[in-house]
């Protein structure tokens, strides 16, 4: 199997390049009985034979830089090549902006490669120029809304250079496109945690926000998890208006398993704080668990039966 560039006739092997004939290539020494061998292409062997030679000489030159480019094209996951490239860039005092252009192209083709994103962060750390990072990650995210690397890089930039403004708007747009985008929900929590914090006012606002989104898609786990998340310190029953909303959804006959699970945890909290009539509440718990196990969430039926047993053991008076 060969890549298109293998067939590119203008491509010249390093061993045939006159500017390299002073260098003795270094073949890979894989020992007498190598394991998990790779059937390298001729081109791959040629490039890495010269890359090993360059590393052994520790040569930091224009031609070495070009060679790392060829090596990266063939194996962008080789972290040593990237590291060596950074050493060369530093030694030659290269223009980071040019490197950034080269890198952006590679990331477009290799969006889920750890090394390319690490290289990007290293470059931004050197140059302290983050001016393109938010647009760049937004572009990647628009192609793949859940790209973990892009979100991670974006969070790093936002935190490192305090670029919090505008992020909530960015998230709003993403959630308007896809209310189930869990990465965007996570980003919302991240932004609030680091800016206003979850004050009473903010929690109330976020409850309203989640309720609106749940009304658009009642079985959206992301919105329900977010609701639990913003209430984790205060308790699920903290907001009267949310309690009313939960009961009114139930009253309307909404059968979302997430709603039932949320209500179940509200009962759990009441029981733990001894804020309710145990027998009456346990009756409700039983019917919720039954509904989940037998009707709305059957793949987890054993889990819901287990939850019922656990709560019975914990709260029911013998």
């Amino acid at each position: 199997m060969s890549s298109s560039s293998d067939e590119d006739e203008s491509y010249k092997m390093y061993k045939d390049r006159p500017e390299w004939n002073d260098v003795k290539s270094v073949p890979q020494d894989d020992g007498p009985a190598p394991v998990v061998q790779i059937a390298y292409s001729e081109k791959f062997k040629d490039v890495f034979d010269y890359f090993r030679a360059v590393m052994a000489m520790n040569e930091k030159s224009e031609r070495a830089l070009e060679l790392t480019g060829s090596a990266i094209e063939l194996n962008p996951a080789n972290y040593t090549v990237w590291h060596y490239r950074r050493e060369v860039l530093k030694a030659l005092k290269k223009d980071i902006a040019v490197e950034m252009k080269f890198l952006s192209q590679i990331i477009m083709e290799q969006q889920k490669n750890y090394q390319v994103w690490h290289h990007r962060r290293a470059l931004v750390e050197w140059s302290q120029d983050f001016s393109e990072e938010l647009d760049f990650t937004a572009d990647i995210i628009s192609r793949d809304q859940k790209n973990y690397h892009a979100w991670q890089h974006r969070q790093w930039v936002i935190q490192e250079f305090e670029q919090w403004d505008g992020e909530l708007d960015f998230i709003d747009k993403l959630l308007e496109q896809d209310v189930r985008n869990n990465s965007a929900w996570n980003e919302r929590y991240f932004v609030i945690e680091h800016t206003t914090g979850f004050t009473d006012e903010v929690v109330k606002r976020e409850i309203e926000y989640a309720i609106k989104k749940i009304n658009l898609a009642t079985k959206n786990e992301s919105a329900w998890s977010y609701l639990r998340g913003v209430l984790q310190d205060k308790g699920l029953t903290w907001s009267k208006s949310l309690c009313d909303q939960i009961h009114s959804w139930r009253g309307e006959g909404l059968r979302s398993p997430h709603l039932a699970a949320f209500l179940l945890d509200m009962f759990d909290e009441d029981l733990e704080k001894k804020k309710c009539d145990v027998n009456k509440t346990m009756d409700k718990v039983r019917s919720l668990c039954k509904e989940l196990a037998e009707d709305t969430d059957t793949v987890r039926r054993k889990y819901w039966n287990f939850v019922l047993q656990r709560m019975t053991k914990e709260y029911e008076v013998k």
């Binding site: 998990v36 790779i38 996951a77 793949v299 987890r300 054993k302």
Partner: protein, 408 residues
């Protein structure tokens, strides 16, 4: 799905055996991590109870190849921070002879934490006694990779740092039975900070919960034995709920993502460690994993109808093993090797401990022979310690025997 799909054991054995030999050119991207692929194939064969498909000669060759990847200290010991295992020789270990391959020759030659972990695990799978592992250097290599926030990078020259590499550091320490190279308090603190609002773990603080990082985080807490101080009862309940919620038919790694074979292990093993694995739907999970099986060449893929790969093939058999299906060997969910390998590892630890005790006893005897005036406080300490250990070695079995007799 076709209900007649059966588990193709023989084809999987062939698949893993083939991987150990040669991969086509399109896998060149795995060049730096061939040791990890070796681990997937060997452990896969082990889970299939098929290691005897490799000849003794072949096993020995693999052991030699793995040892050739060990980065050991140079004469000046200036590279201990880079010790451990490399994933292959691709980055230029240029030695005239294979036997000398263990000597590091260029400043860019360095171990990688995932390779140190999978290299050691592979040696254990092949029943090696780790005698030729430079344990001290391996641990120094690990120590050099921990960052102030408690997380680990993968190589000394720099890389991203996240939950995966904390897990690798814990596995190396567990295998070598020595956690002194890890600041476990800091590592635990990093893991706690990576607990997401939805109850599971991201790759780092602020990041989205993910099945893979959740496994790495939770298994690390188990291996470091810091779980009890790290998570409350309520947090464990939410983690349980998040994990069981990952099952659609098989398992997926994040809410609203498609099921993927590897999460039958990542999430499954986390549930096993939580003690609630039995609560999932086995039948659906099995059906999904088998739907990603390649019925012609063997192995498993991430999704149905695509090509199988080493990682998903290994995770596929592990996911099925967790459910005790198809006569697969039981696995240890924290270390991600078979229980047979874990037992072998623990036997080695017992041997090392016994050797250590003998060494201390000999030292104490030597010292007691020297004049008492030369015994300073430190020596006295050593003697007392050796005495206590020696006494323990004699008394404990005696007490056990007596108790045992009386009890029966």
């Amino acid at each position: 799905m076709d209900s007649s799909t059966s588990f193709e054991r023989k084809k999987h054995i062939r698949f893993f055996s083939r991987i150990l030999q040669i991969l086509p050119h399109r896998y060149s991207i795995l060049d730096t991590s061939r040791l990890t692929i070796t681990f997937f194939a060997l452990s896969g064969l082990d889970v299939l109870n098929a290691l005897d498909h490799l000849s003794e000669k072949n096993k020995q060759e693999i052991i030699e190849w793995i040892y050739s990847l060990q980065v050991i200290p140079n004469e000046a010991e200036s590279n201990t921070c880079k010790c451990g295992f490399r994933g292959s020789t691709c980055n230029g270990v240029t030695t005239p002879q294979y036997a000398k391959a263990m000597e590091s020759t260029n400043e860019y030659d360095s171990s990688h934490i995932a390779m140190t972990y999978t290299g050691l695990a592979s040696l254990l799978i092949l029943s090696d006694d780790l005698q030729r592992v430079n344990k001290k250097a391996c641990l120094e290599g690990i120590r050099a990779l921990q960052l102030p926030d408690g997380s680990f990078k993968s190589t000394y020259d720099g890389s991203e740092n996240d939950m995966r590499f904390i897990y690798c550091a814990c596995c190396v320490s567990a295998i070598l039975n020595d956690f002194s190279a890890i600041d476990t308090a800091q590592a635990t603190s990093f893991i706690r900070k990576s607990l997401c609002y939805d109850g599971a773990f991201g790759q780092g603080p602020g990041l989205e919960s993910h099945g893979g990082s959740t496994f790495c985080a939770f298994a690390s807490l188990k291996l470091m034995k810091t779980l009890n101080s790290a998570l409350s009862k309520q947090q464990l309940k939410w983690l349980e709920y998040w994990c069981v919620s990952r099952q659609k038919m098989g398992f997926h790694g994040r809410p609203h993502k498609d099921d993927d074979t590897c999460y039958s292990f990542w999430v499954g093993a986390t549930l096993k460690l939580l003690g609630v694995f039995e609560l999932i739907d086995f039948k659906e999970n099995e059906e999904f994993v088998l739907s990603t099986q390649d019925n012609i060449v063997g192995g498993f893929a991430k999704w149905p109808q695509i090509h199988p790969d080493a990682l998903h093939s290994y995770m596929g058999v592990c996911g099925l093993s967790l459910m005790g299906l198809h006569n697969l060997q039981p696995i240890d969910p924290a270390l991600n090797v078979t229980q047979r390998v874990r037992t072998h590892m623990e036997e080695l630890h017992a041997k090392w401990a016994a050797a250590e005790t003998r060494k201390l006893q000999t030292t104490s005897m030597d010292r007691s022979r020297t004049k008492s005036s030369t015994i300073d406080r430190t020596h006295t300490g050593t003697v007392v310690l050796a005495f206590v250990i020696g006494l323990g070695a004699v008394v404990v079995p005696w007490i056990y025997k007596v108790y045992f007799r009386h009890a029966t």
